[in-house]
Subunit: 351 residues, 2 copies
């Protein structure tokens, strides 16, 4: 038998951030697909939609009226998952071995990225995306002043396939009394790595390694790197991180802010160009919890896009993935190659 | 302020099996839904479909012809994610701190639950489901004889929303050289609990606790229990487990086999009746790895159904759920109540 080749043979890869595995089956992408097809939203949207509750000047669910904002706009979510006005839970419930419960107070906010109803980040200018980054920074700072908030989760759901109910470009901010499971898991790994690696940061080391190997890099500028991580679960998942150690949004230099916006524009544009459609995804930041001193944290963004082979064929993470472990059909190296081949001029703006 | 009430206030619950949390926002189910609607498949299917590659006597992708089977039928997956004929990987790749890789050999099988193209488990008789259970037992035993297989993951994806591409009632078997992430995590928890609880089994203790509390029980017979677990992520997720300690399918008594089939019929029927539609889900077993002596394992089934409020409105586990932690909108106790209110006569068979 020939020797083992990860480009052809089934294998699993280890994610040192979550300390978990993903199964990779490079040959499996050949199978015919007879299942559900996604709807592609190619409709041209107007710059202003009188029905949209996010457009400037329009009325929202509980009667508030949006200002005539001209760049970004943040407001409290009208259907928040967590609230600040609830009683504390009792400690007793935390002691139960089997039925353990913790109260969670918090706040949920919505951030409109642009007054323009017809845009997405992929079609915005770098200058306009810089304004979004500044809005995230300001939000993170504002939330840090509230003593019942320990973690600020910034994210965006884009596209119907990712549960997004309004195409107006916007993201969310869930601010919580507790550090959620995913960032906590990463913090534990970063700290453990530091202890066993002479104080090194896992993500600093990883960024250097990817720069050396090159095969998984999609975009690079002076201070930021965008790779399909070695352990990616979603077909075209990427990890976007500063090359140098930065704990949170507040610590970015203005140079890094510009570079982050540059990378955001370029990756979202390549995404749209890959299958010539508004590419759905969930994306968001992981960064240090607020206030406390979290040296070990290395801020980064994850992009989790579901599409696999075309604008209509997605990857389903279902049966085996839910009960066994995540499984992917193309290698991260192949995915990076496909994304590198995409243009950084948006397909709608071409010609 | 009034005192903390988990039926009204946001909280998180701890899952002692995965040692992870889920955020629960009881008030959030009120928000209007303007996002993606699921397709409901109410078409009447024929008992035999000449186009279906799973129906008796039909030809499959690579040319094999199905036998004229009359109860269940198992065959090797034509597009397997893992295969037995690949070289072993080298140990070197496992030593890398950042880019760690392991070869995975295995086999993937498909099990047709019935020759009837038009049925699902919800409409099958208990006697016919008993045959499916025996097929699972036989499969597990067959796989145990192959020395490169350590874990047998039995599961079913039902419905297009769960990535299922053929409505003919069938499930799968992925048999692997490695124990996948999810069962491994549970095994670690079961073993840790044993050590700190005088040799008790977490799931035995949990079953007793649920029998005492009653509020989350959906179905109970002499030997099996079906509950919406205290830490459920999906709106109508259930956990189906033997009340007594049973490590794997091979250890079930014939009484327990009958009761398992009874519980399977009753829960899938209630599911279909909940929103009067073929209720999509992924379900599967967690049980002891093959061959080795795994006393600590307590076999059980998880059902992960996506629907939230109707046949067309599902829960999306996206942005916050992927980046932060899973979040649910109704309490497990409310979900159990709704499922308890459903009939055990299938809506299509009524009148
Ligand atoms: O094997 P199937 O049914 O074609 O495929 C389905 O189940 C598999 C196992 O859960 C998943 O990996 C696939 O993404 C899904 O579409
Ligand atoms: O808040 P939205 O955009 O209405 O809702 C969407 O994002 C939330 C946060 O990821 C999820 O909990 C919802 O299931 C999803 O539909």
């Amino acid at each position: 038998m020939s020797s083992f080749d990860y480009r052809a043979h089934s294998h699993r890869r280890y994610n040192p951030l979550t300390r978990s595995w993903v199964l990779c089956s490079p040959h499996r992408n050949q199978r015919p697909w007879q299942g559900q097809k996604e709807k592609v939203n190619q409709e041209e949207r107007p710059q202003y939609d009188p029905q949209c509750y996010l457009c400037p000047g329009n009325k929202r669910a509980h009667g508030d009226v949006n200002p005539n904002y001209t760049s970004t706009f943040r407001f409290m979510n009208d259907f928040a998952a967590v609230k600040d006005d609830q009683p504390m839970s009792t400690n007793n419930d935390e002691q139960d071995d089997l039925l353990r419960i913790q109260g969670v107070r918090g706040e949920c906010h919505v951030i409109c990225f642009s007054p323009r109803h017809d845009l997405t980040m992929a079609e915005m200018t770098t200058d306009d995306i810089i304004k979004v980054v500044y809005e995230w920074i300001k939000s993170y700072r504002d939330m840090s002043t509230k003593d019942f908030i320990r973690y600020v989760q910034i994210f965006e759901n884009k596209g119907q396939a990712m549960g997004c109910s309004n195409p107006h470009p916007h993201g969310q901010l869930w601010c919580l009394e507790r550090i959620p499971v995913e960032p906590q898991r990463e913090f534990d790994s970063l700290q453990a790595y530091r202890e066993t690696h002479n104080g090194h940061c896992l993500l600093c080391d990883y960024a250097k390694r990817e720069c050396k190997e090159q095969t998984r890099i999609v975009i690079e500028n002076d201070t930021f790197l965008c790779v399909v991580p070695f352990w990616a679960i979603w077909p075209f998942e990427v990890l976007l991180l500063p090359k140098d150690h930065v704990t949170c949004l507040l610590k970015l230099s203005s140079r890094q802010i510009d570079d982050l916006a540059d990378a955001l524009r370029r990756i979202t544009c390549r995404y749209d160009n890959l299958f010539q459609c508004p590419f759905p995804y969930s994306m968001g930041f992981h960064q240090a919890p607020v206030r406390e001193n979290h040296d070990y944290a290395h801020m980064h963004l994850h992009f989790y896009p579901p599409l696999l082979r075309s604008a209509t064929v997605r990857k389903f993470l279902v049966g085996f993935e839910m009960l066994g472990e995540p499984q992917r059909d193309i290698t991260p190296e192949q995915a990076a190659e496909q994304l590198r081949a995409c243009s950084e001029t948006h397909y709608k703006q071409e010609k």
